[in-house]
């Protein structure tokens, strides 16, 4: 379904719907949960059976399972959820990583743990995104901070999930999901489609290309693929006892994302030469943007992608500054990662401005913290 | 037609021995290639399909064999005389 180009005044979640449609989503399965429900509602209106399928499943586990199933049917598919639903999806996310299924999962983060604050924003799921399922795997995750980015990064999530055959995430939050703002849909978008495997030639052995990302054998085209979450060889026969097969498979699953970090990672840099840099993402960076714009002693590195971890831009910033202030809406999840990279790269001090409870840190809270640090 | 047991697949569950209404099968006494006491076709001439053309009858053994070890084969001239 084509999306009309132009300028729109939309809600973040609605912009996500537009991004999904622009990317060519053909299957959406969802379950009502605040604050992500508008995405399901928006796609329910558009995916009418002919243009694609919208399905309201019995729970979030069923949603992501159906989405993975649909992806093997060869269509771009996605689901949207929030905290508790995201927790339910974790097992299947591991399955998608293991079976190399391209899917997009939107997590509009809300305050946790448990039911927590259904209507308030949080950034408490960033580590769950990376480590939520058992075993070693890598994912791709983006963190939008505006209505425009809800659109742009939804498109990016679809593109990278297709390109690298991994589950890709859009880690929005209640604040960005519900904020209203300007969305500009360009005339032309770069959309990456599925890299399908060619039709299998008679009964000869499956060709195993020597590359990290293998072409995708869509069901029903004669590939006779075996898709499994078990440790498997390249022709997908299960080998749960084989040490070497397991090592090669799991390492490749990680490598295909980690080696392409430079291609995937996105960030915004403001006043890069400053001796004090704020590192933040999502709605926690909104206040920091204002501070960095008004105060020339303070710069901002705003991460647009969180996983694979953007070591390069953080290392670059750390080499050129004395102090880093990490701001996020949890008790310090990305902080430990950022601190590790920053200290390794010569930054002397890494501090944390953490705020939970639903409101993003305000510019005055940033200034207060910076004053405490003796910067301004 | 006569039933033949593939000793590579048979796991000696002896369901064929139990299920055959004509008692064509019997338990094996020797260890086969797979390490099991594979069942044997001891009286193929009793089978409903002995010397029979056209649609096969009964087939309980083939449908019940958990290891797909039984298949139909043409009888030799000698067997046909039995």
């Amino acid at each position: 379904m084509k999306v009309a180009p132009g300028e729109f005044f939309l809600q973040g979640n609605e912009a996500c719907v537009q991004g999904a449609l622009a990317s060519g989503v053909r299957f959406f399965a969802g379950y009502p949960i605040t604050p992500s429900t508008e995405i399901a509602e928006g796609l329910a209106a558009k995916l009418d059976g002919k243009e694609g399928v919208f399905l309201q499943m019995e729970d979030e586990i069923a949603c992501i399972s159906a989405v993975i199933g649909a992806s093997w049917g060869g269509v771009k598919s996605m689901t949207a959820t929030s905290g508790p639903g995201f927790s339910l999806m974790q097992e299947a996310i591991g399955y998608a990583a293991m079976s190399e299924t391209p899917i997009v999962i939107v997590d509009v983060m809300r305050g946790g743990p448990s039911t927590g604050q259904p209507t308030r924003a949080s950034q408490g799921d960033v580590m769950q995104t990376r480590y939520g399922s058992h075993g070693d795997y890598q994912v791709i995750a983006f963190a939008p901070a505006s209505v425009q980015e809800m659109f742009d990064l939804t498109v990016a999530a679809f593109n990278y999930s297709e390109k690298y055959r991994v589950p890709a995430f859009l880690l929005s939050d209640a604040e960005v999901g519900h904020m209203r703002g300007l969305l500009t849909i360009p005339d032309k978008l770069d959309i990456i489609g599925r890299k399908e495997k060619g039709i299998r030639r008679s009964d000869e052995a499956y060709d195993v290309p020597d590359e990290l990302v293998r072409p995708f054998p869509v069901f029903g085209k004669g590939h006779r693929t075996m898709v499994t979450g078990m440790t498997h060889t390249d022709n997908s026969w299960i080998e749960p006892e084989d040490v070497k097969v397991h090592q090669e498979l799991v390492k490749r699953l990680s490598e295909k994302v980690l080696r392409n970090r430079k291609d995937i990672n996105k960030w915004e840099l403001m006043c890069p030469g400053s001796k004090t840099m704020i590192v933040s993402y999502g709605s926690a960076a909104l206040g920091a943007k204002e501070v960095a714009a008004s105060d020339d002693k303070v710069g901002l590195l705003r991460l647009k992608s969180l996983w694979p971890f953007p070591e390069e831009p953080i290392a670059e910033v750390a080499r050129n500054c004395d102090r880093i202030l990490v701001s996020e809406m949890n008790l310090g999840m990305m902080y430990s990662e950022i601190k590790r990279v920053a200290l390794e790269n010569g930054c002397k001090k890494v501090e944390l401005l953490s705020k939970i409870g639903g409101d993003p840190p305000t510019p005055s809270e940033f200034r207060h913290k910076l004053r405490e640090m003796g910067v301004i | 037609m006569k039933p033949v047991i593939d000793p590579k697949f048979c796991k000696a569950c002896n369901i064929c021995v139990y299920i055959c209404p004509k008692k064509c099968y019997s338990k094996g006494s020797g260890i086969g290639e797979t390490g099991y006491f594979t069942a044997v076709v001891s009286a193929a001439e009793k089978c409903y399909n002995h010397n029979r053309e056209g649609k096969l009858l009964c087939e309980l053994c083939i449908l019940s064999c958990p290891d797909q070890a039984i298949s139909w084969h043409e009888e030799t001239e000698e067997e046909k005389k039995k």
């Binding site: 069901f219 | 796991k11 797979t34």
Partner: protein
């Protein structure tokens, strides 16, 4: 098509224990599939986790071996994304009725076109014989060493109540009837469900004085009762009690419109 065009002969002998009921269901399924002249390249097989859910991996076709209990949810997505595919789910009693119970009843309710074959062996076989939701009352398992104090589920009855288009139950002692029912299920549009009570001599029979698979088949023969055809769509209550009986037969055969017809899914793959 010969049986080993349908199954992957290079993977034989399969992983199942001697005397396992899965093999009989595989025979019957191949028969039904072959006699209907269905095509492997236009069919996808989905399984969850468990012994019976391994069957799709042995079939020479597209197979989706999924997470525990979610096979029907995966199959729903696959079918709606590629409606021209025929989708068949192989599952077991624990996979379908316990961890996947919600997907099962909602699958029946939603009525997406797929055939679900549940091999009910009354036990968690792959993990070594723990009581399942269909373990008969007072039967022994590793987790019910003093006898199972719970009462079992009747999967076929649930499927009827939840709205499946076709529901039948047979045992592995009824191979011909089972083949016929699988054929009927494969031909029918909508959610079709065939439950097969199968023997697990290794983990179920062994602890319940039926260590020999033939003893288990004899148990099924003795305790199964054919459902009275005159009762039409009525539901029989059938738990696998010690004294109870296994009612076998076709339980329901109706033509509710299936989901993809109602929403007008067209090809968009």
């Amino acid at each position: 098509m010969e049986i080993f065009d349908f199954y992957r002969k290079d993977r034989w002998p399969h992983v199942f224990c001697p005397g396992c009921g899965n093999g009989a269901v595989m025979n019957c399924f191949y028969r039904a599939f072959n006699e209907l002249g269905l095509e492997l390249d236009k069919t996808a097989f989905v399984g969850g986790i468990g012994c019976s859910s391994r069957i799709p991996l042995y079939i020479n076709s597209d197979a989706l071996h999924t997470t525990h209990g979610r096979a029907i949810a995966f199959a729903t997505g696959l079918k709606l994304a590629k409606p021209e595919l025929k989708v068949v789910v192989f599952t077991g009693d624990g996979d379908l009725g316990a961890i996947g119970g919600n997907h099962f009843i909602n699958g029946c309710r939603r009525n997406v076109d797929m055939t679900v074959i549940c091999i009910n062996n009354n036990i968690y076989g792959m993990t070594g014989g723990q009581a399942s939701i269909t373990t008969p009352h007072e039967f022994l398992s590793t987790t019910t060493p003093r006898g199972n104090k719970e009462y079992p589920f009747d999967l076929a009855e649930i499927a009827v109540a939840a709205g499946a288009n076709y529901v039948a139950r047979w045992t592995t002692r009824h191979v011909h009837e089972l083949t016929k029912s699988i054929k009927a299920a494969l031909q029918k549009k909508g959610f079709t469900f065939v439950e097969v009570v199968a023997q697990c001599p290794t983990n179920f029979g062994r602890r319940n004085r039926m260590a020999d698979p033939t003893q288990m088949l004899e148990w099924m023969r003795e305790s199964s009762i054919r459902r009275d055809k005159a009762k039409a769509n009525a539901v029989d209550h059938v738990d696998l009690n010690l004294e109870g009986k296994i009612t076998v037969g076709e339980f329901v055969d109706r033509n509710r419109e299936c989901y993809e017809e109602l929403i007008g899914v067209s090809k968009h793959g």
